[in-house]
């Protein structure tokens, strides 16, 4: 008896990931689903910034030319795509994909499942008035304190709308703020018909999603253990889940690709961004990472089993983006001899000038690249004969003016500060607007009735 296996391939681990990966996943061997995760916490704020400048923007634009490359083969082979590329504008993203389908002569052959209802920006005042404080999960402060600065508010939806879209016949499911793991769990629940309260299987599908949601980070990319022996990273195989109905699965990658799938590569990904391992909370359930069993079952094959889970919580997480203020980072490079000493002297001079100008900042942070930027004081005393050191100084303020003035104080150091300085060809540093993240919780009963799944055809 051959056991039925569903293959889910990771195509993107974040917005800006390797553009060839989804193409390789489609062409490199059999897959049933292509899962593309575009949304990190920071990503939503970036998309929001773009949408505020252009109302048609606000989704992962890379997704559209990518779909253009793979759509003919995806349609021909019946591969289905799940992606949260919709960002803060899923309808705009869906329309762009359908436009591509029409251009490729695939009109009528591509059905897009469009998931909306995660966006609650327009309901914030009503929710606050109804007694939902949407307090910051880290600080406990109520949202009312920054209400006038809020730019976007999106609830993390789970797998349910993806399952509904797939049941409705969608070939490509485009969502906004759906959890990374829901993009993998959704297809598994759809294919195997797992009940939504089969907590162990829900947890298993969630862990599968967590393993592949960061792309090649589970298959040899960014792998610390034995990094020198990881071969072929010029053409890394992105991870693929081969799932069985009982919830166990194998992590693998296509043959003839680089990287490695090992217990070490999967473990490093499992612990990535982990909180309490006993309760990995998603909208769909709570996975217990201390129950996961890993076993190398072949070359580039890791068998994952034993996963237990618990019931979902009554709350959903909300990702709120708000306008915080401004920041800028300036850099200069100081050369041997006494490179570090010169860079430190320059930092002191710059700070004195900022003080003399009466500029006020929430934060001034100095790092010396080559000395302490990555490990701080743990890096120990620098070698006295360092060939060069980069001075990197950043400022952050609620107002634009002091940050703007700071950006004009970097270049003058070249002629008015310590010697042997270079590396300023980039010109004045840019003033960046800071859109910050405010994580909160909301009762799911306030949200779920508003989630919509539409099937739109070309």
């Amino acid at each position: 008896m051959s056991e039925r296996v569903v293959r889910i391939a990771a195509g993107q681990g974040f917005w800006g990931d390797w553009l060839e990966a989804p193409v390789r996943q489609v062409q490199g061997g059999p897959i049933d689903y292509l899962m593309m995760d575009y949304l990190a916490e920071v990503t939503m704020s970036i998309m929001q910034k773009q949408k505020s400048r252009d109302p048609r923007a606000g989704y992962a634009r890379d997704f559209v030319p990518l779909m253009e490359r793979i759509l003919p083969e995806v349609v021909a082979r019946g591969i289905r795509v799940t992606s949260n590329a919709g960002g803060v504008n899923p309808p705009g993203c869906a329309e762009a994909v359908l436009e591509v389908a029409r251009r490729l002569g695939l009109g009528g052959k591509v059905r897009v499942g469009l998931v909306t209802g995660d966006d609650i920006l327009g309901r914030l005042d009503q929710l606050i008035a109804a007694g939902h404080p949407l307090s910051d999960m880290e600080t406990g402060r109520p949202l009312a304190e920054i209400r006038d600065k809020v730019l976007s508010a999106n609830v993390y939806l789970g797998m349910a709308p993806i399952v509904e879209a797939l049941r409705g016949g969608a070939d490509v499911v485009i969502t906004g703020r759906v959890t990374d793991t829901g993009l993998t769990l959704g297809p598994l629940v759809h294919e195997f018909g797992w009940p939504a309260d089969d907590w162990d299987r829900i947890a298993a599908g969630t862990v599968a999603g967590h393993i592949i949601e960061c792309g090649a980070q589970a298959s040899g990319g960014n792998l610390l253990k034995g990094w020198r022996s990881v071969k072929g990273l010029a053409d890394p195989g992105f991870p693929i889940i081969e799932a069985s109905a009982d919830g166990s699965f194998v992590v693998t990658k296509h043959p003839n690709t680089g990287g490695v799938v090992s217990v070490a590569s999967v473990t490093e990904q499992l612990v990535y961004e982990m909180g309490d391992p006993r309760s990995y909370i998603t909208p769909d359930g709570v996975a217990d990472f201390t129950t996961i069993r890993l076993r190398q079952s072949g070359r580039d094959r890791v068998r994952v089993s034993g996963i237990r889970g618990g019931p979902r919580t009554p709350m959903l997480k909300v990702s709120i983006a708000y306008f915080y203020g401004y920041k800028a980072v300036g850099t200069l490079v100081y050369a041997w001899p006494e490179a570090y000493e010169k860079a430190r002297a320059a930092d002191r001079i710059l700070r004195q000038r900022l003080k003399d100008l009466g500029l006020e900042f929430d934060q001034i942070l100095t790092e010396f690249l080559g000395v302490d930027a990555t490990h701080g004081r743990l890096a120990g005393k620098p070698h006295p004969d360092l060939p060069e050191v980069q001075l990197r100084i950043g400022v952050r303020a609620r107002e634009r003016a002091p940050v703007e003035r700071f950006t004009r104080e970097i270049a003058p150091l070249v002629l008015t500060g310590p010697p042997s300085v270079t590396g300023f060809a980039g010109g004045r540093p840019a003033v960046e607007e800071v859109v910050a993240y405010w994580p909160a919780l909301i009762d799911r009963r306030q949200i779920e009735p508003g989630v919509r799944v539409e099937i739109v055809g070309a």
């Binding site: 612990v271 909180g275 006993r278 201390t290 996961i292 890993l294």
Partner: protein, 136 residues
């Protein structure tokens, strides 16, 4: 299962008393690999034993108090969780990222290299194992 600690609470004497023969201070990187990431202003470091038989040593020696001391001045507090099934410990390093996310001015705003910063620690290791690790 979480055990927590504030940095700098415990005196140094305690760590020293356990470093008696036949134990040798040994670089943690010879016993473990690691990956780190962020959740807001908190960095997490997953510390994974290079061999399953090293895991009990990590549990015993890489205590939240020692990790807090290691990162003193860089984080406000440390929590530790155990994953014996993966031979791994998970550490949460609070207030490690200058506000985190888009607010942070740090090069490592998302805590990607706190992993190797933790591996800079030294822990007391039985002398025979310490000798073997250094040879490898």
């Amino acid at each position: 299962m979480a055990t927590g600690s504030q940095p700098g609470r415990k005196g140094r004497g305690r760590a020293k008393r356990s470093v008696v023969p036949p134990f040798r201070p040994t670089a943690l990187r010879l016993l473990a690999h690691a990956r780190s990431g962020d959740k807001g202003n908190t960095a997490n470091v997953g510390l994974i034993a290079l061999e399953p038989e090293y895991y009990p040593l990590l549990v015993k020696q890489v205590t939240p108090a020692r990790v807090a001391r290691h990162f003193k001045g860089m984080v406000s507090g440390v929590e530790r969780f155990e994953l014996p099934n993966l031979s791994a410990l998970n550490f949460l390093l609070h207030d490690a990222l200058d506000g985190g996310g888009t607010i942070s001015l740090k090069t490592d705003a998302q805590g990607k290299v706190y992993s190797t910063a933790l591996l800079r620690m030294e822990i007391p290791v039985p002398a025979a194992l310490a000798r073997r690790l250094r040879r490898e």
